[in-house]
Symmetry: C2
Subunit: 249 residues, 2 copies
């Protein structure tokens, strides 16, 4: 695979890393494929070898590629990408053609983890956590339904879930909040695709978020876990991952 079609360059080394990373995340190269040599990249983007090396260092640090002296650079298998690295999350946001497998993997994780997490948050949340949750929920409510504020709505959605991660008051859980942004952005693109009864779906999603907030506020671990389950089920339906079914719990 060559570099044909990659637009010329317009920023520093970070921008170059971002550009290359997004091409990788979009599946432009297959795992095991050789990656372009440093000098080719220098020529193609008309930048110094330094910038190229800095960019490649980032890609190496996140596990996207592997470099060995003399042999060259190859693309690593997806299973070894550091999906939890904030850099990766950053690069994923705003990609319109993110690998659907990846989206499903991330969502599957959230589906299994967030109920437990909500339970944790219900027992550990403090005043400022509740404040963050309420602010995010208020923002979601305010920006719902209006196509103009769709991007903003997604940001509040991210903030809401991130507030739950933070409310766990655990350093490890907190790190995982980074996964939310790409996951939720993908949701938007996806739900834009199948433009079905969007209005009902949004109202439904909102009220379910509200029930999570309520449960956490009254320190109801059981209720928070259940409500989070409901939010995720709604989201799964909107993502087209599972079919709409009756409540299983």
């Amino acid at each position: 695979m060559t570099l044909d079609g990659l637009a010329p360059h317009g920023g520093g080394a970070d921008a170059l890393a971002r550009r290359l990373a997004r091409a990788l995340l979009a599946g432009r190269w297959q795992p095991g494929d050789p990656f372009p040599k440093e000098l080719d990249l220098c020529a193609h983007f008309a930048v110094s070898r330094n910038q190229v090396r800095n960019a490649l260092t980032s890609l190496t640090a996140t596990g996207l590629i592997e470099r060995t002296a003399g042999r060259g650079t190859v693309v690593r298998p997806v299973a070894e990408w550091h999906l939890l690295d904030p850099l990766i999350s950053d690069w994923m946001t705003g990609i319109d053609s993110l690998d659907p497998t990846l989206v499903r993997e991330i969502f599957a994780f959230r589906y299994s983890a967030e109920p437990t997490l909500a339970r944790l948050a219900a027992t550990a949340a403090e005043a400022d956590d509740l404040q963050r949750l309420e602010a995010a929920f208020e923002g979601m409510t305010r920006t719902a339904g209006d196509p103009d504020t769709q991007g903003l709505h997604a940001e509040y959605d991210v903030a809401f879930h991130d507030a739950i991660y933070r409310a766990s008051h655990n350093l490890v859980w907190r790190q995982m909040g980074h996964l939310l942004r790409p996951s939720i952005i993908a949701l938007i693109h996806s739900s834009q695709a199948h433009v079905r009864e969007e209005h009902d779906s949004l109202d439904d999603s909102l009220s379910r978020h509200g029930r999570v907030l309520e449960a956490i506020r009254r320190r109801d671990a059981e209720g928070a876990e259940h409500a989070a389950c409901e939010v995720l089920r709604r989201t799964a339906i909107d993502l087209g991952i599972v079919a709409e079914t009756a409540d299983a719990h």
Copy 2:
């Protein structure tokens, strides 16, 4: 805080990064403290500026430090360290004086996550997953009790839990297996500290691991979750995090 007391240098840039990272992880600098300048590091370790810069790039990528042109380098707050980065896990292993707060945070995460994870593994495990679990368990059994093989025993312990993470067949969960090694190594050091009735404790731990394996083998999600709970409770007692109590479930 200066560089006094850091031994001279004996490897490449990776070794230097490791050395500095471990000093950071051990709490040698406080968050917000200024980090030594590039040229000081060059002088102290007698290496080129390139190696220093490469090492500092790693520390920056993992969120340990923050660098800004003109101002210098400062240590970032612990909450922003990328604990899920494999590099950090690598650096943490073998540290004898790891910050106890960090150990507790990581263990608290495992305590909340691994039961859910075990449930997942029970439904998703395939033949090779079971094989890995059995091999690790066999290794644990074989190396139990003998002080000579204590290190090996820990490795099998790590392999056992990592096999559970892998058995989830989810890319995100799988990444988190990296947290295990530092957590379990810390357990050893800790249990070496309070040398109490070690023998009973080991037997008990082994049999609990065995019950997790059994539950996963017969695809018993409920049982696996419960058994994992028991393993973690035993571990928590050995770590001195919680007192020994009657079964809560």
